[in-house]
């Protein structure tokens, strides 16, 4: 037969794979280059932001030297010549930590509820509502926090000060402490903004838990909670960590809501429930209008520090989440 004749020489040819040569049209090369430019623009913008803030903030950094990172007060030129980010960074971290302490357990619970407990119809509705929390502007959180929540948090702050006063974070610093415009209330409000971010990441990771392992745990006689503790939570651990770091990044950069709630305090104080706190971002928004010259440079230097801190936190979060997820993206 003719086919065998044709096949015969093929058997002698060594089985090297055919070389595929991609020849792209000029239009395609242009297209690829344009897309690459758009992708590269992200990096360029990030570098530009860092570069500009640094160069413009340099006069203030030079003026204060390393004291910029240890000084607690903020008295730029017209008022004095001593300013630093120590207290600002302290309050930034404190407010963010309070927000995370409240938001992470709630978010993990919400994610568990959505993936493990809720009936299908409720699941969609709840996911939408939690996403809606992310859509509410931070200004509105701030106004609500200042007008509605702040007066209602005084009772619980007093209680914490009176009965848990042995803890340094609640210990009253004066005989007649003022509660209300505190890091605590700000942290509670920021936690509401962090919840949807953490929840969406954690939910995504929890939904990727291999069903076989979950069924195995149940088949061995475990209760549902036992299954969650033995399978779901360990599997989702890096998702919880990554989501929390992403939430931390958001909380560190929060501006308007905190500005509307706290009264400024340029000192490091352990107590978080008494009036007074001022993170970096709200200070910039508050002092921006009246600053010029070295004072403005100082604000830009503070902005640069904030930029670097949030960038590091977010890069860390992205790496942790990327390691935990397999293929599917996390949509925020």
């Amino acid at each position: 037969m003719s086919t065998t004749k044709e096949r015969a020489p093929a058997a002698n040819v060594p089985p090297t794979p055919r070389k595929v040569v991609v020849v792209r049209t000029p239009a395609d090369r242009m297209f690829r280059r344009a897309a690459a430019c758009a992708g590269g623009l992200t990096l360029i913008i990030l570098v530009l932001i860092g570069g500009f803030l640094f160069t413009k903030g340099l006069p203030a950094l030079k003026d204060q030297g390393l004291k910029f990172f240890t000084t607690q007060v903020w008295n730029p030129p017209p008022r004095g010549n001593e300013f630093g980010v120590a207290a600002l960074l302290y309050w930034t971290v404190v407010v963010a930590l309070i927000a995370l302490v409240i938001a992470v357990p709630l978010s993990v619970a919400a994610a568990l509820f959505v993936t493990e407990f809720a009936p299908r119809r409720l699941r969609r509705a709840l996911t939408s509502l939690i996403d809606l929390l992310a859509a509410v502007p931070s200004l509105i959180y701030g106004m609500w926090g200042a007008a509605y929540l702040r007066p209602r948090m005084i009772g619980i702050s007093e209680w914490l000060g009176r009965y848990l006063g042995f803890l340094p974070i609640f210990k009253p610093t004066t005989n007649a402490p003022i509660y209300g415009p505190s890091a605590f209330v700000a942290g509670v409000v920021v936690s509401l903004m962090v919840v949807p971010i953490v929840t969406s990441v954690v939910r995504e990771v929890f939904s990727q838990v291999p069903p076989g392992e979950k069924e195995g745990a149940l088949a061995l006689g475990g209760t549902r909670w036992g299954m969650i503790r033995a399978v779901v939570l360990p599997f989702g651990r890096s998702g919880i960590i990554g989501g929390s770091m992403l939430g931390l990044g958001r909380a560190l950069g929060e501006t308007i809501a905190i500005l509307l709630i706290v009264s400024p305090l340029f000192a490091i104080r352990a107590n978080v429930i008494e009036a007074g706190a001022i993170p970096v971002a709200p200070l910039i928004a508050n002092n921006f209008g009246e600053s010029s010259g070295l004072a403005l440079s100082a604000l830009l230097a503070a902005g640069f520090v904030l930029f670097v801190v949030t960038l590091l936190v977010n890069l860390g979060a992205a790496t942790v989440i990327a390691r935990s997820r397999s293929g599917a993206g996390v949509e925020i």
Partner: protein, 359 residues
């Protein structure tokens, strides 16, 4: 687990279908236990809160109630069905309550802003400006036209900048898959965490302070920095959903890459791209901090986004909220309500689009 004793096989006739045992069923007795614990812990909380302990405030009350409820429930279930079941049930109710607790503040915020804002919202808000409104005028006289124009122009320009860039970046990440795709994805993630105030400061130092002055366009640039990562990430997810077969079919017909992307991929992902746009707009429409240093705010109508200070809904609300006049604070709530309504409309639109995509 509270199920009735399952009929043993010996009793069931061979041809009868045995009653299936449902390990997670919920019986009247279980419901009674839940309700009973909730009611009795509520009563105990009330007793402690108003009669014994010197406490006040709704949040504290709710927390104490929840804690007592869980304790009681655990004890009750442990007494009747043993500790593992008690742990399981108690954790289930803790998780359910926590999930519901997240929704409570949302409802409070929506209700409170509506209540405060709707009181003084008049139709003239949409037709007049703040130019003729002084701090002494009643709060029903609030002009929002200049803010609405400002918000629409700033967000519109931000959209025109960041949507094409975002789509193109998503195409790079998902279609071109260049060498730098991985680092680019990381940088997009990092960019989504840039604080809004930093974006504002950046545009201020580059543009506003360099002689361009305050303008709506500067605000739009700051907003597009914040919008770009949202659009890119959502678009990337959407592009990933385009079936690979469509792509291969297009290549098999001899179409070059750009034609495949332009003629097949993007039209298929059209609705998803609209969703991405809406989500991006919702992300930036309420931003206030970057506008302080770019748009600056203005009481008069300024149609030209390229020169002169401009107002915005969020910015006006923020500036009025800091006033010492009650009428001004009331006005701030009107602005906030209109802004929130706008965000809600966008959000619902995005959801409806997303649903259509899924179908």
């Amino acid at each position: 687990m509270g199920a009735p004793p399952a009929p043993t096989l010996a009793v069931v006739a061979h041809d009868a279908i045995p009653v299936r045992r449902r390990p997670t069923s919920f019986h009247r007795r279980d419901a009674a236990m839940v309700v009973g614990c909730a009611v009795s812990s509520l009563a105990l909380t009330w007793l402690l809160y108003s009669q014994i302990l010197p406490l006040s405030g709704l949040p504290g009350f709710l927390m104490l109630w929840a804690a007592l409820n869980f304790l009681m429930y655990f004890t009750a279930v442990a007494a009747t069905e043993g500790r593992p079941a008690a742990r399981d049930r108690t954790m289930a109710s803790v998780i359910t309550v926590a999930a519901i607790a997240i929704i409570v503040p949302l409802a409070l915020i929506l209700g409170y802003v509506t209540l405060k804002g709707l009181r003084f919202l008049r139709l003239s808000f949409f037709t007049t400006t703040m130019a003729s409104v002084g701090p002494e005028s009643p709060a029903t006289e609030t002009g929002g036209l200049q803010a609405i124009v400002g918000t629409l122009e700033q967000v519109g320009i931000a959209m025109l900048i960041s949507v094409p860039l975002g789509v193109l970046t998503a195409v790079y990440l998902n279609e071109v898959k260049g060498r730098l795709a991985r680092p680019t994805r990381v940088f997009v993630d990092a960019m989504s965490g840039v604080p809004s105030i930093v974006a504002g400061l950046f545009i201020y130092t580059v543009l506003v302070a360099n002689g361009a002055g305050f303008s709506g366009f500067a605000a739009a640039l700051a907003l597009s920095i914040l919008m770009l990562p949202t659009v890119t990430r959502t678009c990337e997810v959407v592009l990933r959903l385009v079936p690979g077969g469509l792509r291969e079919a297009s290549f098999a017909m001899g179409a070059p890459e750009w034609r495949t992307t332009w003629g097949v991929i993007l039209p298929t992902a059209r609705i998803g791209i609209v969703t991405a746009t809406i989500l991006g707009v919702a992300r930036v429409i309420g931003e206030t901090a970057p506008l302080i240093m770019t748009a600056f705010g203005s009481a008069t109508l300024n149609f030209n986004p390229f020169s002169g200070a401009q107002s915005a809904l969020s910015l006006s609300s923020f500036q009025l909220f800091g006033s010492s006049q009650t009428a001004d604070v009331d006005r701030a709530w009107v602005f906030a309500f209109v802004l929130l309504a706008l965000v809600l409309i966008l959000f619902v639109l995005a959801r409806l689009q997303g649903d259509r995509r899924r179908r």
